[in-house]
Structure formats: structure tokens, C-alpha cells
Symmetry: C3
Subunit: 348 residues, 3 copies
């Protein structure tokens, strides 16, 4: 990147305070930035860093002033910064151009315009891939799978047969979409496999991290709702349905047939049992275990999880157990002494 501050400010519809002709050559965080970098300040608690940052310019809110770096004042600094960074990133993303000759593509697959296919990719019969989508090296797209437009599949991803992936989806390396749900019928101590005949639907604008596993439904479909973001090493079992715009952090496991509402947040290493519902906007804190339905907007903590203020009170009591035990001992001593004195008086 090589743009003047006024060019960037115009792009953002902002207002420059300071030298409009500074040349910006990169972007960075407030602490990490150096000369030539543009950065941003969104959280007022970092205001003191404006004095020490080595950045050449900072995107700030309308009411922020600073000595030192030049400023671009905007309504929403985080958003503005992200727009600048996206601009740069766009130009940085390694693009796959055309179909690599080592890819094995069925003549019965249909690839739209500008699809990029990396080396050693395999695309089976009946697959359809939308315009501008890229499939990274070594990835596998199973029979009759459908992938939308402008989607980015990183190297070494496995999309099993029949799965459906939307548009503007990102799937990171090592992930497996559409592996069999974990279902058995136990007859005389032996486990017979229950065929998993459904599929997985990944809606538009979803991002799936690395080494994520999403199981196909027993019948019907497992669904990742539009705009939901899934971090690395997450397990999503058969017939799970997440609403739109959920955030599912690393190493979460969601058991079969559970449904999440919209804008649910599951923090790292959370487990959710099967056949439950987690309501819209609920938040489950890290390492918690959910074994009952969760109400909309509830904030849950613990394993098994409780409403988080209740869980905090309980944890507080647990932490003070030594103290309570002391109080019980003191009571026992007082009672003994009362009994003693009462006995004495009765004897008199």
C-alpha cells in the first residue's frame, strides 16, 4: 500500500487532523505500529497509547484529540480501520488462477467462471461450483456437493458427498464437512452403524476454522446458519442447527440435534449436550457444560452450567468453605459450653 492520508480519509468519509500528505505504507496495532503505519483507537482505555505510538496516523472517534500522530476522525474507528485493512488484505490474498493441470475434475462437474482450482484437488461427478470460488491444493469435493460464489476453501479440506456450501464462505485447512454422524444401534453389546443419510448445509457468509468436523445428519440436514463463525477444532454433531451470526469458539463440542438461536456465543471448550435449545443471544462462558435448554440472552457458566451470577455466588461460597467450616466449629464449641453451663445450673 502507498496512499496519502487524505486519500484514505476520503475513502472513509472521515476528516484529517494534521498533515494530509503523509504517505501510509502499512497498517498495524497501536503498540506494534511504526513510521508509515496507520492504526486506530476504538477503546478509550487505550487513549494514553496515543502519546507513545510510533504510528504515522491513527483513526479515532469524532471527539478524540492527540499530540503526535496525525488523525482521521470518523464515527466508528473500528469499522473504518477494518475497511482499510480489508482493502489491503484483498490485494494480499493469494489467488488461485484457473484450474491446475494436476487437479482431477470429473467431466460431470460444473465449474462457473473464474473458479480457481489448486494442484491435486479432486472434484467428483455432479459437483457444482459458483463463480469466483477458489478450492485450495489437495482439497476434496465429493459427489454432488454444491459450493456457492466467491467462497474460499483452503488447502487440504474435505467436503463429503452432497454437502452444500453457500457463497462468501471461508473454510480453513484440515476441516471435514459431512463426515458421518456418530450413531449406533446396540444389539447384544455390539454396535451396528446407523447409516447417516442426511447432509450438511453451510449457509452464506459462514467462516469455518481449521480441523473443524461437521457431521452429516442422520436424515435431513445439519445446518450452520448464515453469518455464523466457527473457530478451530470445533465438533458439530449430526442434525445440529445453528442460527444466524453465532460465534462458536475453539474446541467447542455440540452434541446431536441441538439447536442454537441467533447470535449465540459459545466460548472456548464449551460442551453442549444433545437435543437441547440455546436461545437467541445467549452466551456460554469458557469450559462450561450445558445440560439443559438455555433461555434467550442468558449468560451461563460452569459444568454443569448455571446462570452466571448464580454460578459466581456459588463459586464464592465454595471458595469460602474453610471459613464456613470454622464457623460451624465455633458454633459447636459455643453450644457445648452453653449445654455445660445449663447443666451446671440445673444441677444446682
Amino acid at each position: 500500500m502507498r496512499k496519502t492520508l487524505s486519500e484514505i480519509s476520503n475513502f472513509l468519509g472521515g476528516r484529517v487532523v494534521g498533515d494530509r500528505d503523509i504517505v501510509i505504507t502499512g497498517v498495524s496495532g497501536l503498540k506494534e505500529a511504526g513510521p508509515g503505519d496507520l492504526t486506530f483507537l476504538a477503546n478509550p482505555k487505550y487513549l494514553p497509547l496515543l502519546k507513545t505510538t510510533k504510528a504515522s496516523a491513527v483513526i479515532v472517534a469524532e471527539d478524540v484529540s492527540a499530540e503526535g500522530p496525525a488523525l482521521i476522525r470518523v464515527a466508528n474507528p473500528s469499522l473504518a480501520f477494518t475497511r482499510v485493512v480489508a482493502l489491503i488484505k484483498e490485494s494480499l490474498t493469494p489467488r488461485i488462477r484457473g484450474v491446475h493441470p494436476t487437479a482431477v475434475i470429473s467431466p460431470d462437474a460444473v465449474l462457473a467462471e473464474n473458479v480457481g482450482v489448486g494442484p491435486h484437488v479432486v472434484i467428483e461427478p455432479g459437483v457444482r461450483i459458483g463463480r469466483g470460488t477458489m478450492i485450495g491444493a489437495g482439497s476434496y469435493v465429493g459427489e454432488k456437493a454444491v459450493v456457492g460464489e466467491e467462497t474460499l476453501i483452503y488447502p487440504n479440506v474435505t467436503l463429503r458427498e452432497d454437502v452444500s456450501v453457500g457463497s462468501r464462505v471461508i473454510i480453513h485447512s484440515g476441516s471435514v464437512i459431512g463426515c458421518d454422524g456418530f450413531g449406533y444401534l446396540t444389539v447384544e453389546e455390539k454396535h451396528m452403524k446407523i447409516p447417516q443419510m442426511g447432509t450438511v448445509v453451510i449457509e452464506d457468509d459462514v467462516e469455518i476454522g481449521a480441523c473443524v468436523t461437521i457431521d452429516r445428519a442422520r436424515f435431513d440436514r445439519t445446518v450452520i446458519g448464515k453469518g455464523t463463525k466457527v473457530d478451530n477444532l470445533v465438533q458439530i454433531a449430526h442434525n445440529v442447527r445453528t442460527g444466524e451470526n453465532c460465534i462458536i469458539v475453539s474446541q467447542v463440542g455440540i452434541a446431536g440435534s441441538t439447536t442454537l438461536g441467533k447470535n449465540v456465543i459459545l466460548a472456548g471448550q464449551v460442551g453442549v449436550a444433545g437435543h437441547l435449545h440455546v436461545g437467541d443471544g445467549a452466551v456460554v462462558m469458557a469450559q462450561s457444560g450445558i445440560s439443559k435448554d438455555v433461555a434467550a440472552k442468558a449468560v451461563m457458566f460452569g459444568s454443569p452450567a448455571d446462570e452466571h451470577r448464580q454460578a459466581a455466588r456459588t463459586l464464592g461460597h465454595v471458595g469460602r468453605l474453610s471459613h464456613y467450616v470454622e464457623r460451624i466449629k465455633a458454633l459447636e464449641e459455643k453450644i457445648a459450653s452453653l449445654e455445660e453451663s445449663l447443666k451446671k445450673r440445673m444441677d444446682t
Copy 2:
């Protein structure tokens, strides 16, 4: 599928109630089914759904009647349904026919009849693969590994050198069998790698989920017992041995040298420490942590885990801590008041 109800009933040794000539074109769940579908009812609590299902026919137990759909009465509806579904699934499983020309197969590997090898597979020297086994696209089979008959390896699996995989095994995408055990010798704060010279044996009829890691033994072998089923993202460390027909749910971790008996169930996200034994038929509930041997048939819960009824009692007490603290306060007040009145009386 396109079969009459009487054909399916004959296959199952069942008895039709209703129109024997209905044509069945698919299978589904009671709730999801539509016209042309066959479904089943095993759990009596779903009896009311018999009235509302849109399925054309339902497999039921001997004593079930219904208005609406046709019925096939059998002794075990779940089992019967699974037999029908397996029939269909068999015909649906994408079969790999022959050896794809892009596969790199050592001339020193021995492939039996009807082995299917997908594109970009690598099979190293000394490998032996049994009749009817399929190796999915991009999978790697290391030197001297042995795979049995009718086994299904999905795309992008890694089997390291010397591992042994039985017959009728299924291994899902992204899994790594035979990676090195995690062993170091720490000398002056530096960790020297202890070579892991053993291997992994996956016995017959095992199923391994996606992105599972099973470490090779330091010496000797890590063993997954016959008929055991392992879900996605499970970690099995070096020298672990599981008995037959265990169920190991997603994101479980089993540390080194621990042994499981037969028919053990480890629910999701369970951790088992090293050098322990979990007895036959034991069940460990989700997110529990096992740090001691577990008796046969025990049901364990918590981290650290306790016998589940004891754990439930303890959890109950923990949940009532506010209440107990109130009772301690009440006692303290009563004692104070007793002491007071006793003091008054002594003063008189």
C-alpha cells in the same frame, strides 16, 4: 429405492398391516418423512406421531396399531429399519473402482482384488491391502502398513508406517493413525525426544471419526479393540488399549498406557489420565476427568470424577450452599440470643 411394502416386509420377515402394494421410494424419520417414505417407531413415547406422520409406512413392534400409515410389524423395529437403511446406504456409498492413475503406489505394495484407490493416494513400499478395501483421495499409507478387507478409508487420512488396520473398519477424513507418542526426557530443562518405536493396531469392525489422532506406542502397540467406535477429534495416546465394543465420544482424550475394558462408554470431552484402568461396562459422563482407576460398571461424573450418585449429591449440596450459609447465620443469631438470655438470668 423402489420396492413394494410386501417386498420389504418379506426381506425383514415381518407382517404387513394395510396396503401391501404401496411403493416405497425412500426412508426418513417419523417427523421428517413424506409420501413414499418408510420410517419406524421404536420408542413408545413417540406413538402420538403415528397419527401425524406423512410417511407411507412405518415399521413398528408386534403390538402397535395405527390409523393412517401402513405398518410392518416386526420384533425389533430399530434393528429392522437399520437393515433396510443399510441396504439403501450400501447402494449409495460412493464406490471407488480400480486404482486411479494419479495414485502413487509402490511396486513393493500388495493390493488384493477389488481394492479401490482414489486420486492422489500414496501407498508406500511393503504395504498390504485386503480385498474390497477402498482408500479415498489424497490418503497416505505409510511403509509396511497393513489394511484388512472391506475397509473404508475416507479422503485425506494419514496411516503412518507399520500400523495395522483390520477388516470392515471405517476411518473418516483428516484422521492420523500412528503419529508419534508424546514422550520426552528432560535433561537440564531441555526435552529430548524419546523415539516411539511401537505401532498402532486397529482391530476389525472399528469406526474412527474425523480428525482423530491415535499415537503409536513407545514400544509394543496402541490397540483399538474390535467393534469399538471412536467419534471425531478424539486423542488416544501411546500404549492405550481399549477393549471390544467401547464407545468413545467426540473430543475425549485418553492419556498414555491407560486401558479400557469391554463396552466402556466415555461421553464427550472426557479426559482420562495415564496409567489407569477403566473396568468393563463403565460409563463416564460428559466433561468428566478420570484420575483414578474406575470399577467395572461404575458410572462416573465430575472433574475430578466421582461415582455419579455421590457426585450428584455433592452437586446438590454445592447448589444449596447459600441456604446452608443462611442456616449457619441463623444458628449464630440464636446462639447469641441464648447466650444473652442465659447471661441475664445468671445476673438475676
Copy 3:
């Protein structure tokens, strides 16, 4: 291997007790060993096994005597044994010789001498790979990534663009280095991706297990310090930095921007929240959850974690809750009876 005991003893600088001409053909553990095997005894509690081992020879400490097997006495038996085993393992490690013709290597990549590249590997433009490094079948090395000397990348690994991997590093199959950090800016309930423009640096002598995910930094770099060992299925988020010689056991998750000192040990399934510091030599016990900074050399346990002795005391109290509740009941009864007798006496 086929060496006499005296040859091995000379290599180790040890002293033989017994027949110097015994031929050693393999190595094994004390319990598993058979005739021809060399084994070792480091922990005095296994001394009784010296009588029953079937090994032909045992490496022992200076002061150990035994009837039965021949001995090699050395200062540090574990270390000595590892040196022997490493010797053997070295000769056992399957070596990749040359560049396989199916590998797709950019003409703009630079490979030093004796680099081995397996079948179906992809190496993008601008990559540099050091002398003696091996890249296993199906692995992907992204644009401008740098790999040091004598490093071993197992099959089906993904190294994303720009990552830097040191010398003598081992990375196991299925791992993904340099996937995007999990960062979004939420505007009106929708999550906008924050580009992750930094990278990952894996320093020298690191080992990374199978199916590990290490996210690239938002800016700057995620760092795995020299000599650190990471087990399978671990998640390391963006901008994390580990010190030298840490041990990170299977299924651990470390959230964004957290730093570990030197020689930190995180046991299995531990979670560490973001923006924290874990001090040098700290140990976190299995399944614990760290939500505050950890002091150097602290030993932590629980979720949320506490200093381990404090956590053990608290757990002890929790386990005795039934007992404490009985004591509260007993107090209530005694108080009631005291009140009763006091009331009676006042009535008289």
C-alpha cells in the same frame, strides 16, 4: 541392530557387568523385553522387575546390581537408553530421497541440498527450504513460507503463506500452521472479518503433534519458542507467544495474545483465556481453566483454577459437604432442645 554389549557400552561410556559379548538385536521396555533386547531401569521403584525381565541386558545407574541380565552401568540410564534408541530410530525413520515427480514446486521456490519432497506435495512461489529437510506426501507449503534445516514435515500438513519454521522441527500429519486468527468486528449483529495480516514463527527444535492448529497473528507474529513440544489437537490462537521448552499436552487451548514463560507445562485439555501471562516454570494440571495471570513456578488446578494446594483443600471441603450439613442439622437440633429446656425453666 546387531551389536555386542561392549560396543554399546563403549558408545555410552559405560561399564559392563556380565557377559560383554552378548549380541543385542533390539530395544524394549523392562516388561515387554525379550531375549536379545536391551532395556533400562531409571526409577528405583521398578527394581523388582530386574529379576523377572526377559531382556538380555539392562542399562542401570552406577549403584545397581542384579542377578540375571547383564548390565551396563552409567550415570544417567534414561539418557543413555535414549541415545541408543535414537541411534536405531535414526536408521528406521523413512527417508524421503529427492523430489517426487508428482510434487508441484514453483520455479520461484528455493530448495537447498538434500531436501526430500514426497508425492503430491505443493510448494508455492517464494518458499525457501533448508538443507536436509523432508516434506511428506500431500503437504502444502504456502507462498513465501520459510523452513529451516533437518526439519521433518509429515504427510498432509498445511503451512500457510509467510509462516516461518525453524531447524530440526517436527510437524505431524494433519496440522495447520498459519490459519487465520479468529477475529471479528460486530456491527449491527453481523460479524465482519478482521484480516489477520501477521504470521506464525515456529522456532528451532519444536515438535508439533497431529491435527494441531496455530493461528497467524492479527499483526506481527504468533511464536512457538525454541524447544517447545506441542501434543496433538492443540489450539494456539493469534498472537500467542510461548517461551522456550514448554510442554503443551493434547487438546489444550490457548486464547489470543496470551504469553507463556519458559518451561511452562500445560496438561491435557487445559484452557487458558486471552491476554494473560503464565510465568516461567508454572504447571497447570489437566482440564484446568486459567482466567488470571499465573505466577512463575505456580502449580494450578481447577476450573477456574486456583493454586493447587488451595484447590485440593477446597475440593476436600466440597467432598465433605454431606458431613458438614449433618453437623449443621445436629446444631439446629441441639439449639432447639436448649431453647426448649430454657423456656421450660423460665416458665417454672
